[in-house]
Subunit: 335 residues, 2 copies
DNA sequence: ATGAAAGCGCTAACAC
DNA sequence: GTGTTAGCGCTTTCAT
């Protein structure tokens, strides 16, 4: 930067200004500086800038696993919105472990991230406290809470379970099974399911827990075990589409007709749900929009980057801290 | 950090040493410092550390789109390997645009990333030159090159096209179509296909280009257009499984029997390929392993982080700069 | 509109 | 083994 300043015959501050707030510099000087930057191929050190200004223009995000297409979609949406505002994405995988998440949060805070996006609302108490104390913008996603760390953009997993229960009940099913990851949000879906089923006097739900990440085979084996335990099962709800497709496979292998002998409902509406045969009835959640909305919530609280295309809407309506983006049950052939 | 030093009754350097190289500090002092850190809830500012040491422990990675499950898998593998060595992942999406990629590269370099992972070997000349000049470790993935910027971990897209051609030819197909994204790697697959087909005297390949990212519908429409142009088509190769599934759909809709009247081959072997009906014959590529291997290549060139579980293998066999991780044609029902 | 001085929080080198 | 002295490359005052 000193080189650029010398080359342009100005002080270093002026170069800094050209980069961060061009309007504060006379057009002639600005041009000279920009020419010098060009000539020298100067790339500013953003870390040094962060250190001096204590704003990093980095947002940290943590997902359980990127190889779960639904979370990848959320990150895609997030990255898209952030990039448009000059922010970058530091990404971590917790591998479905709150301890892992806590470690990543610390690492990210050490990097002075300007904001954080977390998956779910279940975190170690120390994480909640720390983030509350630091008061940086935080968005939790893929779930809802009436007491978020800061903000939340999600949907009610519990309500999805209820919706599936209602749907199955309406179609006359009463003996119902559940295959789901041994993980918080899946359990909430299960709870919603059980609650409604119990209220209607249906027999207890048969549950098969598999450990994440879910593979197609887990779905197949889950169904096999469920059938071994309770041959009279009429329907199953799988906590994601991958498991559901596995269950569909196992049905075909055993000659169990879907949906006549066994109704199958999935979760998240991946491309695969519409593609498999029979097409999978599933719960569609706004994976991509979850990330986009989280990004918007953050940006509304962060100063816009110089040169970004995001107008300063300081006086726009303040964003709600809790955003329920909803879900939708998509009836197809499998249930 | 000054606070911690005072609290522990030592100098700031000592605190720094406890954090970055504990063995250089007497156990008693170390314990005192750690206690102070604990008591004060001190979180070191890694940016300041990067500035002082000019090593950031951040690796930048650029993929076309995270919502393409195959790239998400690669990033998953990469993040997994890097996390184990104390490195973090700064992620960007180029949206299939070399200009976008160039911008991200600059942004990442500004962040002083220690290394870079790029998708593909096609980049703006300025990007190649800049990275060569800077001489930071760079791995290109999802393709091969005999003149990589630095290192490459991939497979030959061209060879996958040849393999598909051979397979189709062996099954007696000669009138062949191709549906593929208008993007470099797809075009290479197409080239391999055409080359082998031409050599065997088959008629020219009918090509439908769609713009990325691929959606199921693009595959369906692609097939429809292909059929309109050349009703006698016997087989098609789709440059990814999503397009292939779309084509499968369109066949079913039109009552075209697969594989009897139309053979369909996909690419990348997503879960969906095994799940759809008829099951999709496809080319399996080591998506996850691509990322893992890229990570290992980088780490072999970067000093291991303190407290990482990666032993210092300075004297291990040096890693080859070009890694061909291969591919595999998976015959299923659709061709 | 531009510049000078001070310092962000840390690590590198060198003493002791 | 531990401390001292200098910066890393920028942005912030505050002055001009």
């Amino acid at each position: 930067m000193a080189d650029v300043a010398r080359e342009a015959g100005v002080a270093r501050v002026t170069v800094s200004r050209v980069l961060s707030d061009p309007d504060k510099v006379k057009p002639a000087t600005r041009a000279a500086v920009q020419a010098a930057i060009e000539r020298l191929g100067y790339v500013p050190n953003l870390n040094a800038g962060s250190l001096a200004s204590s704003r990093s223009r980095i947002v940290g995000a943590i997902v359980p696993m990127l190889s779960n297409a639904w979370f990848a979609d959320t990150m895609d949406g997030l990255a898209e919105v952030l990039a448009g505002a000059g922010y970058q994405l530091l990404l971590g995988q917790s591998r479905y472990d709150e301890g892992g998440e806590a470690g990543l949060v610390d690492a990210f805070l050490g990097r002075q991230v300007d904001a954080l996006v977390l998956t779910g609302v279940g975190h170690q108490p120390s994480v909640r406290e720390k983030l509350r104390r630091l008061a940086i913008p935080v968005v939790e996603t893929w779930d809802l809470s009436d007491d978020p760390i800061d903000m939340v953009a999600g949907f009610s997993n519990h309500a999805t379970g209820q919706a599936v229960a209602d749907y199955l009940l309406a179609r006359g099913h009463r003996r119902i099974g559940f295959i789901g990851a041994d993980e918080r949000r899946s359990q909430q879906r299960l709870q919603g399911l059980c609650e409604r089923l119990a209220a209607s006097g249906a027999p207890e739900v048969q549950v098969e827990r598999v450990k994440p990440p879910s593979a197609i085979d887990d779905g197949a084996q889950g169904l096999a075990r469920l059938l071994a335990r309770e041959p009279g099962l009429q329907a199953i709800f799988c906590s994601n589409d991958i498991l559901a497709v596995g269950a569909l496979f196992e049905c075909r292998r055993r000659g169990v007709a879907v949906p006549q002998q066994m109704a199958v409902v999935g979760f998240s509406d991946l491309a695969i749900a519409a593609a498999c045969v029979p097409a999978l009835t599933t719960v569609r959640v706004p994976s991509r929009e979850l990330g986009r909305h989280a990004g918007r919530m953050l940006l509304a609280r962060l100063r816009p980057a110089p040169g970004s295309d995001t107008p300063d809407q300081a006086d726009a309506a303040p964003m709600a801290r809790i955003a329920d983006l909803g879900f939708q049950l998509i009836p197809r052939e499998s249930a």
